[in-house]
């Protein structure tokens, strides 16, 4: 699929928030990109795949989840437009991970081969800064989630989620949101009623 100027501007803006990237480096980076689309329910990656691509969500929505040995799903995260989506664990270790990433809506993604990006990073330090800050962001997100699950009660977690991701409530099934928030679907339903929200 063809990458248009608007697509590239979007990822360029994200990169520029991390570090100053000179024009020649941006051009070299652009040459590494490809574009892919995922139909609703299609997988970006599945457990057992060894991933080497990082995705930048142009449009759509993804759910990241695990399935434990008893077949129960645990929703780890949701990825919205203008964010990176990846089985980052698998990419960094060069080994398959346990993660599933599935499109919840028809979605479009810019794909970046991480190995090619690392090669480019050898030629200019700006990419090391960009990659460092991306990893720091991923780390902080995981820390925040751990801390939220520990320090906030179920209702506060739901209210924070509603404020942070208002659109998700319309597109994501109730039991996936409940799993992400670390509560049962029944608890979520009760909290939504208390908050005068429409139950899905």
């Amino acid at each position: 699929m063809k990458i248009n100027e608007r697509d590239f501007l979007s990822i360029r803006n994200m990169l520029s928030r991390f570090a100053y990237v000179p024009d020649d480096q941006m051009k070299a980076f652009q040459a590494l990109l490809s574009k892919a689309s995922y139909r609703k329910h299609e997988y970006f990656t599945k457990a057992g795949d060894a991933q080497c691509h990082i995705g930048y969500v142009l449009d759509g929505l993804f759910r990241l989840f695990y399935i434990d040995l008893k077949g129960k799903e645990y929703t780890k995260n949701f990825m919205l437009p203008n964010h990176l989506v990846a089985a980052y664990n698998s990419i960094l270790r060069g080994k398959p991970s346990n993660l599933y990433i599935q499109a919840l809506k028809d979605s479009e993604v810019l794909l970046i081969d991480h190995c090619e990006w690392l090669k480019l990073a050898e030629s200019h330090c700006c990419w090391q800064i960009v990659l460092r800050k991306i990893t720091e962001g991923a780390y902080l997100q995981k820390e925040k989630r751990e801390s939220d699950l520990l320090f906030y009660d179920a209702e506060t977690r739901y209210v924070n989620f509603k404020n942070e991701f208002p659109d998700l409530l319309r597109h994501v099934r109730q039991h996936h949101i409940a799993s992400f928030l670390g509560m049962s679907p029944e608890t979520l339903s009760r909290i939504k009623k208390l908050n005068h929200d429409k139950c899905q």
Copy 2:
């Protein structure tokens, strides 16, 4: 406290595993270090502190934990010699975190001011690679822990812990190990008996 050659060699070896660091850069880095000792039970950091130092454990042992609003402790990690110890969340965000880091034995640490390290990183790209890889390691460690808690039963988690940290069983209280492994002290005690381990 004076930093001797053996102390510096230890941290130098760790840094060299991440990237090639030229001698002049190693010297500049050495000038940023200070050495501190912590008596058993003394705190490296407490919840509410805004931390700017990363520690490199020369000797001793630290426990990282949260205390929830009901006063219950959750052991997040243990840090052994030749590893970095930090309220990394607080350092990256420049804000206080909820984390406590406490010495479980008399301990010695090399301290690095993260802001000074970032300034040094502006002068040479090797530090960006080092800092990127440190963050990647911290991220992977968190992913592994999340995945272990999800995919392994209590007994497997205990056996893995025993294999990975054989020395910790002697120095860490049973309820702290149980908290780290996400099980009750009673479950841990039962598993240890089944594994023919001495109960502490």
